[in-house]
């Protein structure tokens, strides 16, 4: 089977796709990927990939950007050439792991071209219906749309979903990953980089795609100085070319904090900066060799997950550690909201991870491996309830208990609103009402439902599941659509009534959704 995987996002997302690509290859698939040229390096070392294609935005857009009128046709021709070249590969399946409008249209275009060749292909991930509306063909992508992507759309910082992105990607692709699918490149270059590091050291990644996801230079300087002093291990600074200036400020801060760098420029240096000096393949080797990686929310955390290096992840609450946190066994995550954790807190945790001390851990999460069991209970009851609700809706686990009066009141109101919708749908079906009026009332039902969920955000997962399933229905004759709406509403009512009845039934209800 020949498969094209679309991954048009950044470095970290590409690394998180590797386990899926390895799993597909285990099934003897010939896997090609479509990536952006700027992030091609992140795909190059993956053993699961047979061929890399590029969506060269600059080549495609340059003509129309240089001259909006005369450049339009050349831009369309450049795009057509890419689509033609992809279509001529004659894929059996397209797996879109990008979750963007652009990627959905590319998938659709390739589907249409294959259809016109009378060789229809299978798709997973976002695509389009024939009328241009968004199509979400598989349940895992619908889960992503409803319970993961909404955070970016609404600006929510509440990490409700607890499935990691690599495992979600695998589910969308229809493969079951095994622990061995988390591995780095086996190229001689990565091995050389690994062997080229002569001693044990702690790696520190100083950057991230967004400064809010990492520490500032002064803070890193303090952390690094204490790490060197307390663990006796050298520290290696890692980062991209754009972070060289930051690395210099960190080195200066290390000295200000009383640690001489012993700077001979080689491996005897106590704090060695390789910032801007490594390529992606070398990073794999270096991180594999490191005893510990200390990092914010960055692509290097994903590299460490692949090569099995423990990570002390300082995770900003703007990012979901469940989704993109480290996967390697023994990793720990310290969460922070406003100010980053104090240097002493970070260093004590690192010492504890290295086994040097028995300090009590302050970590918010301990990672037990890439395919660890999903954490059901934390010290955040509110988040636990919402996750258990998601789990009940999508995985058929018992519905969570909550007899709070406020929640029960909102549920009661939601059921009333639902009965209005059902009444209107029946009228539409039996042709006994003014269709335009009914359409207005149905729109109002959606608005009121959203308002109810705004008033009780814990019910958000249900509303997002319900509205996503409606989007998934796609264009069809009105009579069929009404029937599908009614069926879906029946499933919604099962969920709502189960939550309402929990008080008397005392839980244990299994939903089959």
């Amino acid at each position: 089977m020949k498969i094209l995987v679309l991954q048009l996002a950044r470095l970290g997302d590409i690394f998180q796709t590797w386990p899926t690509l390895h799993a597909l290859q285990r099934q003897s698939a010939e896997v090609h990927v479509l990536v952006r040229p700027r992030f091609r390096a992140a795909a190059e070392g993956c053993d699961g990939i047979r061929k890399i294609h590029e969506f060269a935005t600059d080549v495609i857009l340059s003509p129309v950007l240089n001259d909006a009128r005369l450049g339009l046709q050349p831009s369309l021709e450049a795009l057509d050439a890419l689509m033609h070249s992809l279509d001529s590969e004659k894929y059996d399946r397209i797996i879109n792991l990008s979750f963007s409008p652009l990627s959905s249209w590319i998938t659709f275009e390739l589907e249409m071209r294959a259809f016109q060749r009378e060789k229809p292909l299978g798709t997973a991930g976002y695509t389009r219906h024939i009328d241009g509306a968004l199509a979400i063909p598989d349940d895992a992508s619908a889960f992503f749309f409803a319970q993961v992507g909404y955070r970016a759309q609404t600006g929510s910082t509440e990490p409700i979903n607890r499935l990691s992105i690599p495992r979600l990607f695998a589910t969308i692709a229809g493969v079951d990953p095994i622990e061995a699918d988390w591995h780095g490149p086996s190229s001689p270059r990565a091995l050389r980089a690994e062997l080229g590091v002569p001693q044990e050291f702690i790696a520190v990644h100083i950057g991230a795609s967004d400064e809010a996801k990492t520490l500032d230079a002064h803070h890193w300087g303090e952390v690094v100085a204490r790490l060197v002093r307390r663990t006796g291990k050298p520290v290696l600074l890692l980062g991209a070319t754009g972070e060289v200036e930051k690395s210099e400020r960190i080195l200066a801060a290390v000295e200000t904090n009383g640690v001489s760098l012993n700077n001979d420029g080689g491996w005897n240096t106590r704090v060695l900066s390789l910032v801007g000096k490594t390529d992606v393949t070398e990073l794999f080797g270096i991180i594999k060799k490191s005893t510990l990686l200390v990092a914010g929310d960055s692509a290097l955390v994903q590299i460490a997950s692949l090569v099995g290096t423990k990570v002390l992840n300082l995770s900003s609450r703007t990012v979901s550690h469940w989704e993109t946190g480290p996967a390697s066994t023994g990793s720990r995550i310290i969460l922070y909201g406003g100010a980053a954790p104090a240097a002493e807190v970070i260093v004590r945790e690192a010492e504890s991870m290295l086994g040097a001390t028995t300090h009590a851990s302050v970590a918010d999460r301990f990672v037990t491996g890439p395919i660890e069991d999903i954490v059901e209970q934390t010290n955040d009851e509110h988040a636990d309830f919402m996750w258990q609700l998601i789990s009940a809706i999508y995985m058929g686990t018992p519905i969570p208990k909550n007899v709070e009066k406020r929640l029960q009141n909102i549920l009661e109101q939601w059921c009333e609103v639902q009965s209005i919708e059902n009444h209107q749908l029946n009228s539409l079906q039996q042709n006994t009402g003014d269709a335009r009026q009914i359409a207005l009332i149905l729109d109002r039902v959606v608005e009121i439902t959203r308002l109810l969920v705004e008033a009780e955000p814990r019910l958000g997962p249900i509303e997002r599941w319900w509205s996503t399933e409606r989007i998934r229905l796609g264009p069809q004759p009105q009579a069929d659509l009404i029937g599908k709406y009614q069926e879906l509403n029946g499933r919604l009512e099962t969920v709502l009534s189960s939550l309402r009845e929990i008080e008397v039934r005392n839980d244990g209800q299994q939903l089959d959704i």
Partner: protein, 91 residues
Amino acid sequence: MKNRSEVTLAVPLNTGEHAMPDSFVVSEEAKTETEKRMLLFRLSDAAMRIREEADLIRRTGFTDQASRLMRILGEAVEEQHAALKSDRQSK
């Protein structure tokens, strides 16, 4: 029930952080604030030019390859526009 065949560019999907586009222009072409501003103008011009073709899309629908390619191009432009705007706002 909404009109599903409405033609708009850059339908806001649940893109998520995982789908944030790179802005090739920010890293490779437009480094100064003036360059970025000029590029935003050029992206806006291109988006407007593509929107002018919305009538074609309405007439032919998405069974027509030209309409689909136009739509992909429109999304690519909108994506770059959004990336550049977000890049400027975050600084």
